[in-house]
């Protein structure tokens, strides 16, 4: 699981993924579920492109003044009766949360979807401390039952098919009638709703992430479609928000600008169903809501990204559009990336957070087709940053000699005829999968990838594409 990243084995992971029929079937849903919807909803808003600029500028402004906005935010949270805890590392964040749980003698903790919680491997730590974490987002709940990591940042169970979910529910929900009908997805949803309703009502603490933190008001914001985050934070006595420091925005107006591009980029909705602005604990005039409100602010390497080539990555609003549009992600799914952040944003972020020695392969898992950047709502230059990593990796001599020449994901094989022959079937299936979408092969600018790394020695054996063609004409492949 998340505590044990397998990022360093990206190539093996990818290989396995390509041979996994269930996964390949499920991954078709990414394209159907996200790409067309985003395009349609963006087309309905003439200002969409200008709003992307605006979102980018707001994030840039905030990052340039991050220290001051954090101080301001903290002051407002305290004024509203909340508490702010600062965590330099994942370890510190886990400890703060466990202490808070233990102080209130918590046994059951419900959780809204939070990538930061995944990043710090919170569930494992809670369990170890004798506290039961219950994921309440349907996708997170499903993968928790399977003891898996999310394979997508907004659709954690996108790698699964309904029949797999059905067998997990039958395996775990043993208190329910064994002969019940679970053929239809809606029956699965209803069952999860019933099972989790009891959990919501019995939890001692609710933990949510935050999509944004507002400096002006000291508010934390969650955006969901299910309403699980709201039940998580409203019903228990204590609400803990876990958020990383770059989630800050200055004002309510600023966040409104960004919200206009978030849902549209993420799920192709005009607006998500629930956007919730929470400010402090229950007031004297309230009859519901948590009595205690805590925010854990996590750094975990982010402050060191400021002022570097990777600062732009801190604009990320975790919409998932880059992976939804990534041909490599479509082909191998999220688990191949081996940790919590998959796809192009993961390829940039994971080496920063885990270290380039563990995740140096990821930035090579790219065709440099540029689709990720073309859809990113905050215009993060993802391909450029992947190239930064490859250069960093090169200069640090962390890769095997054969991989230093860039394009390792492809060139590795192109350079080694023997290995290449053995691995041809999986490369072929990758190519086949990439080619499943009309135009993808054309859009795979392997050539431009080569050009971009021309300052490196050109590998022998020509480009992958030329080898591919040669192989094909020799009748050895496909």
């Amino acid at each position: 699981m998340t505590a044990h990243p397998t990022t360093s084995r990206f190539k093996d992971n990818a290989h396995e993924a390509l041979g996994d029929d269930q996964l390949q079937k499920a991954m078709l849903n990414v394209r159907a579920g996200f790409i067309d919807k985003r395009a349609a909803v963006a087309a309905k808003l003439p200002e969409f492109e200008a709003l992307r600029d605006s979102a980018r500028d707001i994030k840039n402004h905030t990052l340039a003044h991050l220290d001051l906005y954090l101080e301001r935010y903290e002051q407002k949270v305290i004024e509203a009766g909340g508490h702010v805890h600062w965590a330099r590392t994942a370890e510190e964040a886990r400890q703060i949360i466990i202490d808070l749980c233990q102080k209130s003698d918590a046994k059951i903790v419900t959780k809204g979807k939070s990538m930061i919680s995944e990043e710090i491997a919170l569930n494992a730590a809670l369990s170890k401390a004798g506290i039961t974490p219950v994921e309440t987002d349907l996708g997170e709940y499903i993968i928790q039952l399977r003891d898996e990591a999310p394979s997508h940042i907004i659709a954690p169970a996108v790698h699964l098919n309904a029949s797999q979910v059905e067998s997990d529910f039958r395996r775990v929900h043993t208190h329910l009638d064994a002969d019940r009908d679970l053929q239809e997805p809606v029956q699965l949803l209803t069952e999860a709703r019933q099972v989790l309703r009891d959990r919501f009502l019995s939890a001692d603490i609710g933990i949510t992430g935050a999509n944004f933190l507002v400096a002006e008001t000291g508010s934390s914001i969650i955006v969901t479609n299910e309403g699980n985050g709201d039940l998580t934070q409203t019903l228990p006595k204590t609400h803990i928000v876990i958020a990383s420091i770059e989630k800050l925005v200055p004002t309510l107006e600023d966040v409104s600008q960004i919200l206009r591009v978030l849902a549209r980029s993420a799920t192709g909705q005009e607006m998500s169903v629930y956007t919730t602005f929470s400010t402090g604990p229950r007031r004297a005039t309230d009859v519901d809501g948590p009595e205690n409100y805590h925010v854990v602010l996590l750094d975990n390497g982010r402050s060191s990204m400021l002022g570097t080539d990777f600062q732009d990555m801190l604009r990320c609003i975790r919409c998932g559009a880059c992976m939804n549009h990534c041909p490599v992600y479509h082909a191998v799914g999220g688990h191949a990336y081996g940790w919590v952040y998959p796809g192009p944003m993961g390829a940039v972020l994971t080496p920063t957070l885990l270290g380039v020695d563990k995740a140096g392969h990821l930035p090579n898992a790219s065709t440099f087709c540029g689709r990720c950047e073309s859809v990113c709502p905050v215009r993060i230059p993802l391909p450029k940053m992947m190239r930064h990593w490859r250069e960093a990796e090169f200069s640090r001599h962390l890769t095997p000699a054969t991989q230093r020449f860039g394009l390792a994901f492809w060139a590795f094989f192109a350079k080694r005829p023997a290995l290449y022959k053995n691995l041809t079937p999986w490369l072929m299936s990758l190519m086949h999968l990439l080619g499943r979408d009309k135009g993808y092969l054309r859009a795979l600018p392997l050539a431009s990838g080569w050009t971009d790394s021309r300052d490196f020695p050109t590998p022998q054996g020509g480009t992958f594409q030329s080898l591919y063609r040669k192989q094909k004409s020799n009748g050895r492949a496909a």
């Binding site: 159907a32 605006s54 659709a155 919200l259 519901d288």
Partner: protein, 225 residues
């Protein structure tokens, strides 16, 4: 050094600043005090009736249902109708909003339950602070009058919205909220609600009624001339 001091000083080192620079302090102060509106969205810059129509259209396309009422007094009968037509028991969870409380519920067979929802209610009714036309979004504010749990726990969420409380865009709604609550002060929770609860987590097919309400019904009170 405390984690707080460490993180702040690391940020400052990375940005090459001390935190004392006057221009930076001014930037932040101004941004927060003036809260510039940013880019406005043309679709909601409409005459009054256009905004109201846009709200209806957008709320319905987010799969909420909507009934227009000529007066606030028509709410109990409309709720009774709605419960009947959905084969629901004649019971309704409400908070302590004097506007809702003051209605003549006795003319209906509805059993009123007051206070926050305990998760056993089929239907609940709250009064919205505002509606935002650009996306058909309801804006609910937490209080004893309109408890947050009523927005989320009942299977059927009913919401009363005054037509006059509809704004074109989010920014105009924030301006009204600041007038009501004061600049920089928020109600404990502000909930934007756009349609009923849903999930796409199983095979990316959207299904209604995840953890929140399965249905969202808006009772919109027309403006009196």
């Amino acid at each position: 050094m405390s984690a707080r001091a460490d993180i702040l000083s690391n940020i400052r080192r990375s940005l090459g600043v001390t935190g004392e620079e006057a221009p930076r302090l001014t930037n932040v102060e101004q941004r927060i005090s003036t809260a510039p509106r940013g880019l406005s969205v043309g679709r909601s810059q409409l005459p009054r009736q256009g905004q109201i129509d846009l709200f209806k259209q957008q709320a319905e396309s987010a799969l909420a249902s909507l009934t227009e009422l000529d007066s606030y007094e028509a709410v109990p009968a409309a709720v009774a109708d709605y419960l009947r037509s959905n084969n629901l028991p004649a019971a309704l969870r409400i908070g302590h909003d004097p506007r809702l409380d003051g209605l003549d519920w006795g003319s209906t067979a509805i059993d009123l339950l007051h206070g926050p929802s305990d998760g056993q209610d089929m239907a609940g009714l709250n009064h919205a602070f505002s509606g935002v036309a650009e996306t058909g979004t309801l804006v609910m504010t937490a209080s004893a009058e309109n408890p947050t749990t009523i927005n989320f726990l009942p299977d059927y969420a009913l919401v009363v919205l005054h037509e006059k409380d509809i704004t074109g865009d989010y920014e105009s709604m924030w301006a009204n909220l600041r007038q009501t609550y004061g600049k920089g002060t928020m109600p404990r929770v502000v909930n934007w609600v756009t349609g009923p609860s849903r999930s796409g987590d199983i095979e990316q097919v959207i299904l209604l009624g995840a953890h929140g309400p399965r249905r969202l019904h808006i009772l919109m009170i027309k403006e009196q001339d």
